[in-house]
Symmetry: C2
Subunit: 725 residues, 2 copies
């Protein structure tokens, strides 16, 4: 604590801040409480923003070699008002001016202005949600109490938004940095600082007390419902949408699960009867593709085709209610500042009239069509090539093994698989970088557009070829865990691909059924273990000892400790897992009616384990406000249409149907034609159903129209104003 | 003219109006000029609306037995201000108070207020199109000169809109009508009057001078471009969109036409070479499904699949530019008065806060799902049943003819066809009424929604079965022409159905080619004749003699004369014709590459003949402002996706491909599977292309976003107002 005396710099002077912190800790007792305003914190610029205690929101971790003058400059930038090119936030230098962290918070006015800029909706006087307006702030509920007005996630995101938006107002030399790191006018300061190694990391702080409450309501008890509003409050709408979808999906599984149980029961009965009637011959039971299964087979197929569309449509309605409830249905990302990496010629935005980089739409379209599409196509081709080489190689070595039949040739049998795994792995790694660069090159203005295009690129290549998909599934999870990328490769690898292969090439329904069943049971178990148990053990026994926290530790060390947790890997792996599940269910469930039951059981535990994981095993993620699941919604819908193809195909393979056709005197070509006809009709029905079920509930539609109407009226009034006054 | 003296009634006294009219006519010389304001016309309520001359816009034809007191009351209603329950229009009693017409016009204020209510966009001070606002009228260009500010079609539609919107403010007895015709409070007056036989007809007046100018620019010369803006001005946006689409479609045909010519030329060359090489044997020329055609065949098929998507996407962009240009991109139909037939419990509209009938959305959805869908399904079933009976009957009589081979059995051969025609006809007539009632029952709030749902219903049943479709095509045209519904039945009947039958059941490509060619040449010719020549002759030699107009005729008689023209039958038949054409082109053109060439030639004349027809052969239609083609756009897009199925199928049938497969050692099932795979991939490509090509040009998107942004800002400002002031 003696270091505190050495500090002379931080704007506002932070003489005895550390002492104060400590004192507070002893008094308050909560692990992460508010820091007192005043000493240590930069000064707020307007009186309305002053409050007794300042809540630390975000920690900026500086590089080891950053001198005190650079830190002082940075703190000044963070605290300076926006008209002077600052971020208008509150900064605290931690223990002293030479420490390697800066704690950042935000005053009321900055939060409110950013909330308006982001287009957040908040409860108005009338009780409706309305787009927040800074000038009209007094008519919004709780607008004087930031902790009730904005969620923790929103406040933290706003800090990041303001930091990311820092731009140099003129050419500028950063104190303590070499000449070569000069800032040019309009350079993005935060990006420059990151590339210069000054800022190593920026992460939001956990609030231990809130986290504990959330955990208790979420995963500790036997509760059936998730506290989705609290999740949105603490983790932000992106995470909350994932858990809402998981919740909605899990409960929607009830119907197919009940149907599946019924079908299994009755087909079991029927099998028994058959056994009785042909008593003695037990062959029928062992013969998996026996008759009785088939009627259930067809019922299940028809049901799952309809169910998937109804499910997606109902989810859309639920999603739009949630986004109204969370105030994100009217996000103004288009009208806000562009994302930091967006570049273009400086000009006046014709829409908002603000000065910002401009990039014409047609150029982006051109880049997508002429660069992105061909490159993605190339990688698709490489995946197919790899696949074909694998099959060719396998056939070759099998032939070789047959000819030689030695130990060496036996070993050779594994070579194609190993080579293919290595190839797919390399391709996957390269592609991930390529996709990132391509999307960067497309130069999207909004963060959400960037995310959606990146996810779409990865999804297209990976889901077109299930091999890569499972690869990604493992990749994402494993790399975020133990650092061993080959850890679970051999367990998960090929799951989906194997099912496809069996269904469409081998055309062997009984085998498909067996594999699906074993896969559902075994792999879901393994999944749970790798997802939670291993990270938990790693966290508890490997990482945690380095991170023992005692009550006496200074607040700063506790902040630093949060950095020892691994970075949250994003929701990609989680969504992919659901997508694969949904794939099992909608594509193949007709051959194994118990799929939905097993998935239901899995998901009920999955909710808890995912909740535990995000609460305890990772650093808290920044989460921008979002209005829906983005591109994942499209992915699920596409899968639901693909399911028609798969189900029709599986029905075609069913021995019962083939027998019927043979009895009916139809040639196989005619049967195939009929199946294709049926498939087209079913797809048409799904389209019509999707069009008939409205995407938003009636009351949301009314609210939306009301908003449109009032803003139309307001526009007319406003144009009149200059004349009147 | 002596009758004029007897008139004492019309509000405002119309003493010597007829004389004035005559005087004007002699002076002005134009056939339909403005009537002088003052005597005859009802008085305008505000000074700004007074103008020297009043332009007659709409004629109301009264029933023969309507007494002068009823007419006087009606004129008063039309002229009364809106706060007194009137229409705030201008009315003129024609020759005298007992004549059977009322001429209606609209004063400036009524026009402007209605323009705001309809959400029309007009040129603002800044040069952009902006939603018109009455209070801000001085900032809009030309807002003091109604004839420049609103188009003729808009002015006439506004008159109709105001008349249709007349509602009784209290229980009321109409003078001269029996007690049983009492008006209840909030009854729609115009509907009541129509059902009581007081108002027989309401139609907009032609403006001979404008019409002559339009005709000269449109169809008299050799001009290539259509005067679309003038068409929009005179006939309104619905008609203008049809002609714009026809125009765009015709020019888009150039590419496939050139390709078709090239393919025909080269395949002709190749054929000749083949003939040379196997000189002497002329068989190959006669054999239509010879080899050389096939490579062109495939090229044409691939091209037409891609072309149809690109064409539709580009049209959407064109369509959105047009709707910006014509000020209809921001129509506020949702916020305006509901359509007259809309019923529901009286209540406060939650969006606009106005008192009006309300009808919950879910009830409408329920009615659609539980009533409309099953009924439409039933009719589909009946069509299929009829079709099956026809084929069964035909097989029976053929068998009979084979067995007996007499003159009687020969006559019997025609019975199934005749029965089927009668059945389809009856079904079509019944269905048209049923569709109308169903859509009425669904109780749509907006006129455009009503129209779209009605068109969709008819399209679904008729295009699902080409038989009914061609039936409708004839039905609509013929009934509007000579009154003989069976006139062209036998020429057109089965055109489309025959092609389908040949392609999918007989699977005979050469026959398909021949039929398509003959159909394109013969039926298009017949088409043109029936569409224009016959009505023209009928009009010139049968109707016209009853309608000889001399310069000396009083203006009123000229107005009356316009009623002798047949009612414009709507654009349904026109659009269907284009749809069928587009069907020929996208579904079957790969077997006959010259399709596009023939269609191009046809369309160039079609533009002129359609223009001539609408200008001269029909009464002028009312045309609400519309923002696009509505449901027709969807129909064309659906057809473009169906074309993939048809083209893949035709490729599959091509002998060249089958030969290749046989050489490649593929079984027919495998070939079929490959074709299905190809079809799915092509549909996917079309989807992606449709998603990648933006639906509106960049500059429109910017304007739209700008509007959204400014109205968002305005809303925030406005909420602040009460506090400030």
């Amino acid at each position: 604590m003696s270091k505190a005396g050495a500090d002379e710099g931080g704007a506002g002077g932070c003489g005895d801040s550390a002492k104060q912190l400590e004192a507070k800790d002893e008094k308050g007792g909560t692990l992460l409480s508010k820091l007192p305003a005043g000493p240590g914190w930069t000064k707020v610029s307007c009186p309305c923003c002053f409050s007794e205690r300042v809540e630390p929101l975000v920690v900026v971790k500086l590089g080891g070699k950053v001198g005190p003058e650079t830190k002082r400059w940075l703190i000044k930038m963070i605290g300076a008002p926006q008209k002077d090119g600052g971020a208008a936030l509150l900064a605290h230098p931690g223990e002293d001016a030479s420490g390697d962290i800066i704690v950042v918070s935000a005053p009321r006015c900055t939060l409110l202005r950013a909330a308006e800029e982001l287009g957040l909706c908040k409860t108005y006087r009338s009780g409706d949600m309305e787009a927040f307006s800074y000038n009209d702030r007094d008519n919004f509920k709780d607008s004087d109490n930031m902790e009730a007005f904005l969620t923790l996630a929103e406040r933290q995101y706003i800090v990041k938004y303001e930091l990311d938006g820092l731009r140099a107002q003129k050419d500028l030399r950063i104190p303590g940095l070499p000449e070569s790191r000069m800032l040019q006018k309009r350079d993005n300061i935060w990006q420059k600082l990151s590339s210069a190694g000054v800022v190593v990391d920026t992460f939001p702080l956990h609030n231990r007390k809130k986290l504990k409450d959330l955990g208790e309501a979420w995963y500790s008890g036997n509760q059936l419902a998730q506290p989705l509003d609290s999740v949105n409050d603490y983790f932000g709408s992106a995470v909350a949408f994932y858990f809402s979808f998981l919740d909605f999906y899990t409960w929607s599984l009830l119907t197919p699960a009940i149907l599946g149980l019924t079908i299994s029961y009755f087909s079991g009965e029927a099998q028994k009867e058959m056994v009785d009637s042909v008593s003695g011959s037990k062959v029928i039971i062992n013969d998996d593709d026996s008759g009785p299964m088939i009627s259930g087979h067809m019922l299940q197929a028809m049901f799952s085709m309809i169910w998937s569309t109804v499910f997606m449509e109902l989810w859309k309605r639920r999603s739009s209610s949630l986004s109204y409830r969370w105030g994100t249905m009217n996000l103004a990302e288009r009208f806000a500042e562009p994302r930091p990496n967006f570049h273009g010629d400086l000009g006046v935005n014709p829409v908002t009239g603000r000065m910002e980089p401009l990039f014409p739409e047609w150029k982006r379209d051109l880049r997508m069509v002429l660069v992105s599409v061909p490159v993605v196509g190339l990688f698709l081709g490489l995946v197919v090539l790899g696949m074909m080489c694998f099959y060719w190689g396998e056939a070759q070595v099998k032939q070789l093994h047959k000819d030689w039949d030695s130990l060496l040739s036996q070993a050779l049998l594994y070579i194609p698989s190993v080579l293919h795994i290595v190839y797919t792995n390399m391709l996957g790694n390269v592609y991930r970088n390529v996709a990132q660069s391509l999307t960067e090159y497309e130069n999207h203005r909004e963060e959400s557009a960037f995310e959606n295009h990146l996810t779409a690129k990865i999804l297209v290549v990976s889901s077109c070829f299930p091999l890569l998909l499972s690869h990604y599934l493992i990749k994402c999870r494993v790399s975020s865990l133990t650092g061993s990328p080959f850890f679970l490769q051999f367990t998960f690898f090929n799951n989906f691909a194997v099912l496809f292969h069996i269904a469409f090439f081998k055309q062997d329904v009984p085998l498909l059924r067996k594999r699906l069943a074993s896969l559902l049971i075994v792999s879901q178990l393994v999944n749970q273990v790798t997802e939670v148990v291993i990270p938990f053990l790693v966290d508890r026994f490997i990482s945690a000892p380095h991170r023992t926290e005692s009550e006496d530790d200074p607040q700063e060390d506790k902040f630093r400790n949060q950095r020892t947790l691994p970075v949250f890997p994003g929701l990609f792996a989680e969504y992919i897992e659901l997508l694969v599940q949904f794939g099992y269910l909608s594509l193949f469930s007709c051959v194994y009616p118990l799929t939905a039951v097993l998935l239901l059981i899995n998901n009920i535990t999955e909710i808890r384990s995912d909740a535990y994981k995000i609460c305890n095993l990772f650093r808290k993620p920044f989460s921008p406000p979002v209005a829906n699941m983005g591109v994942w919604q499209v992915a699920f819908e596409v899968l639901s249409f693909v399911s028609v193809i798969s189900n029709c195909w599986l029905l075609l393979l069913s021995p019962r149907l083939q027998e019927l056709c043979r009895e009916g005197g139809l040639t196989s070509t005619n049967v195939l034609l009929l199946a294709v006809l049926g498939e087209h009709v079913l797809i048409l029905i799904k389209f019509i159903m999707a069009a008939l079920i409205p995407d938003e509930p009636d009351w949301i539609r009314k609210k939306r129209e009301q908003m449109e109407y009032t803003s139309m009226q307001a526009l007319k009034e406003q144009k009149l104003q200059p004349e009147v006054s």
